[in-house]
Symmetry: C3
Subunit: 470 residues, 3 copies
């Protein structure tokens, strides 16, 4: 049995000077409200506000960060209860699944998942021990009991987490019923959608037609031309704005941007309507759509986020059996200097516009992204994304970006999580890493304590709020 | 109001052992003369030796490092007095510009520009405060007064800075009149040119013809063939050598090298003369020209510098309105292993030749550049360039290069600046970072104090002097 | 004269807390037996067990890590006694060579070669001084005397080094006579071969036909079709297994994998047999051969290693005069996400299979390799390779890989050396770096001391043993 020790100075440099300063910066800012401007929490949770069913349903099944590592060590996803696409049976005994996870919990030592779970167990759920083969069933009982109590209802947790605003990520054709329900419930907390039209721009995917059909339905329009398509999207953006959205999000494989001629894009769209678009057409379509989306952002003021460079569903066997988002998305090398040239030349000089770029390719931090963000007024850099949202990943980002772009071209932190109870864990880690990063600079006499304190507040709270117009 | 504190141990690791060793290494070498073998100071400053006009003219308008960051935060370049190409009016009130900069000075916290300016304010100009909205006008007065006094004349500063030799960077057709004037003035300091023929190798640029015309004029030759072209360049190199040049410099987008057949290159040249060269022709021409330049270096002994991988003038709006060098040059991914194959196979084994490679793509440090420099006798690595000439950038370079290439395949430091008063600030930062880097190695018992001291002297002074044949 | 100081805390962070923990972890594990699952020691040394001839023959001539750096500083390989391909005379006086090396020993300060040699001089050979111009001849005498004594015979050293198992790397057509001789000698130590068929897959190389001929000879088969070829390889793998092999190794320029149709691969093979294969054919052939080799590994259980991304023999002058492996192999940018797609989709989900990937491109650590290894059950990551097997290189690897892949998808350490006496030096360095890496995590309260101790044992001993099925 291993006790969970959340040392008050955890993650800070061992050097006593750095640690002292880091602690001071952290203490000063740790209680600021959480701004969560980009993430994947299911709004249904907060709309329904019913108890989380059990520890496995809460912590294992939705968390591909967690089960991908178990899978990499030879544990079948079936034995972890991950549902199959065709409904083939998987493990249903959640106690058995919990036991299996507990036995392999040592795998997470030194990983962000391990760090977040320690925080969740101890701070969110009040457990003292880390799961293992011995204590698994006892912890399952303890957790289950807590989950059924009113203090652990989703909205109670939301309030306890001190979340000022939480943005979800929602398909362009989503009716946003849960968001409406939250709004209508009179619960004063701010949960807003973000407009993600990816499903409508992936014109080679078999499900594209269905999404286009949905778009026609929700807008009550018929779409026969590219102009119809844009008009429908424009209407949807308005709808999202009415429900509080301040941003859009675009997940593309490549950040290539170009403006096609009206004829060319119309041709492409007609080809897609006939189901004849190929991979090259899709790349061209997406590159042009980023330009159109930016143009709409300039009109309607929605902040534009771009998340490029993931090879989705790399493992076909897993994809066919379990679907997407199962830990098999693998980063690709990504190029920004040439790819964003068209977008930035058309929109980058707009001082009232905000384009936030994320990357999974850390080599672009110092080479491309920091120089671009250190020049174009419209460009801001998103925090380290996905695999890089870790101690070392956050440190690499800061070290490679700030000297060229300054912190004022960043947008603070995104938790980007679909695991609701991990939100405070992730923000706490980020705040600790920021405090430590700034403390190192103070201890080296690069910045003063006063500057560090201002920068800490900006990184924790202000930059996110401002960049996302919250 | 923030006092400028130049802590004696600034930039050193907080660890007391490392700091003690770093301080010792730094103290021992901080007063060595400055070797500045590559930079962009305007020789006119030192030829005329008249007072710098005012703080804005000295510190803001020529420094695209500084104003690009202000621009990225939405401050128009017009309001900073950056002159336009078409002469459209820009802010002329330098006190107003100074105030605007002062109000945004917090943006530079933790950036190299901030560090250099602190040094310049305090050490060069004797100010105690950092500019802000309150003290801006007072500091402007103080600075203006100093600039008009004899101790702040360019040559007085040059001597105070303890510069042993300063190399400028000059177009191949430049008559080098300022260099002649300095020489003829009897002032004993060493200010030398460096031969940069880029304008003559960019055969697709509209201004190429003009440069070719200039080449004919300054050499009093007519150029009808590629051979004529090479002969004229050869003659110019001799002229530069007579005025003290020891090096050439080549700014290319890609470091691709290849030797074209005499027929092929002649054809290309004729096509260029007819104004018909396209982008592919230019790439081919440049790749061959690097081979010709290397061949001339083998003959005349000029050290060859290559600065590849910048996408110049990425922002067309800025380029059209304000011209080049306005903070909108963005690095590109760069490849060396294949691209330098031809060059190194023809010249890399020459022990008397020196080819110095720079990069903006840090991913090539450990993967390509250190292994190449750790093998080919003619190859040396230039210091971290441009955006990477920062605390973290210098540290990354050393960490990724020295274990494979050893420090003896490096060439010390280049300040590469066009901001004359930043020279001592940049060398001081570099010396501190070297001292700290070596101190870490001593504290870890990787090298002895004796070795560190020798290495420190090499990095500070000897390597630059030897590599550039000064 | 410089004394060699092997400080007991060398390579640990100077911070006293980190150092204390690192020391504890190191002390606890430093005496574990050496597992050397991949390297290039010549088995003849251990089969014959005769004295090493002299210091130069032992330490200089076989070590291209060492002489490449001397060459980069202008010292001709001829003067270092490196034998030429055509037998042209080179320096024969080994005392003179030793003197030359000793005079330039300062070049290795801060490099892994310097660190390894210090350990070898002091720990393996009991010298107190580092070679220099003064003491060179005395040290030569001392070393020569030791080499002729029984304690310095290869097998005595093997036992002293506490090597539990040593794997060599052997061509597919190698008769493995030295391995047989070792086995038959009754010497109980475990020295095993590894199957490396590269010479048989490089179908454009002039020597390919000779290797194919050898394959026919050693298998007593005639090879007229691709099937014949595969059958012969399958038979050789069996032969290697009988002599203890547990792994194969594949050195390819690109890790691109694809399965060609039976017709297509047969055509390619026939083209190669006619000597008509070109570079594109070779790339296609190798990409398919990786699939075939994986399929055989699935059958016979041999662990598959892939070492991609080296531009071999970059320096043609050196290659023509001295042959391969002369320090002129330069890394190339390498892509894994797309390139390994076919291989991993066919074999990556096999829980009983092990594919170990190495890279010379550190940019792929966090971007591609850690995410891939953190998902696919069959994939493991090899330790930092070649130039990156250094203090900073090992640290970069751990920092960029562990948070995403966890240590349990790594395979511990490979010394990968052809310099037999450097084996304990390299393992000692690796153990120190692991201890220090884990100590940093403990000091930052990321992992507990207990976890660190388990992880240290895994990294030092268990992971290699398990991954390589030893």
């Amino acid at each position: 049995m291993a006790k969970i020790e959340l040392h008050p100075d955890r993650f800070f440099d061992p050097d006593s000077q750095v640690r002292k300063i880091a602690r001071e910066l952290y203490e000063e800012h740790k209680n600021l409200p959480i701004i969560s401007p980009h993430g994947h929490v299911d709004p249904k949770i907060l709309a329904e506000n019913t108890p989380f069913p059990d520890p496995v349903e809460l912590l294992v099944i939705p968390d591909h960060y967690l089960f991908r590592l178990l899978y990499s060590q030879g544990i079948p996803l079936e034995s972890l209860g991950i549902p199959t696409m065709d409904g083939t049976e998987v493990e249903k005994d959640h106690r058995k699944i919990w036991h299996l996870v507990a036995e392999h919990f040592y795998l997470f030592a030194g990983t962000p998942t391990g760090i977040w779970l320690d925080y969740e167990f101890k701070e969110v759920f009040g457990l003292d021990e880390r799961p293992d083969g011995q204590n698994a069933q006892r912890l399952y009982d303890e957790l289950s009991e807590k989950l059924s109590s009113p203090e652990f209802l989703p909205r109670a947790l939301f309030e306890r987490f001190n979340i000022e605003v939480l943005s979800t990520t929602d398909g362009a054709t989503d009716a946003l019923l849960w968001h409406k329900k939250i709004k209508e419930s009179g619960w004063p907390s701010r949960v807003i959608p973000s407009f993600r039209p990816d499903a409508l721009t992936r014109i080679t995917r078999p499900e594209w037609m269905r999404h286009l059909h949905d778009l026609q339905k929700v807008t009550n329009r018929s779409i026969h031309s590219f102009k119809d398509f844009l008009d429908a999207l424009r209407e949807r953006r308005q709808y999202f704005k009415q429900l509080g959205a301040t941003s859009t999000d675009h997940g593309v494989q490549s950040p290539f941007t170009q403006r096609l001629s009206p004829d060319k894009i119309e041709q492409l769209f007609q080809k897609a309507l006939k189901g004849q678009a190929d991979a090259r057409d899709q790349a061209a379509f997406e590159s042009h759509m980023l330009m159109e989306m930016a143009a709409m952002s300039l009109e309607d003021g929605l902040v534009m986020q771009i998340h490029p460079g993931s090879f989705r569903d790399h493992n076909q066997l897993i994809y066919k059996r379990f679907g997407s988002d199962k830990g098999a998305d693998i980063p690709l090398q990504t190029e920004f200097t040439r790819n964003l040239h068209a977008l930035l030349n058309e929109f980058g000089n707009e001082p009232d516009m905000t384009i936030i770029i994320f990357t999974l390719d850390e080599t672009t931090y110092s080479r491309e992204l920091a120089p671009l963000a250190g020049h174009y007024p419209a460009l801001r850099l998103g925090p380290p994304w996905w695999f890089h949202d870790s101690l070392q990943g956050m440190l690499r980002f800061k070290k490679q970006v700030i000297e060229t772009a300054s912190i004022y071209n960043l947008v603070g932190f995104n938790d980007d999580t679909r695991a609701f109870p991990s939100i405070p864990a992730r923000h706490d880690l980020s705040r600790r890493m920021d405090a430590n990063f700034l403390a190192r600079q103070v201890a080296r006499h690069v910045i003063s304590m006063d500057e560090a304190s201002h920068m800490m507040r900006a990184l924790t709270y202000e930059l996110a709020k401002k960049a996302y117009k919250l």
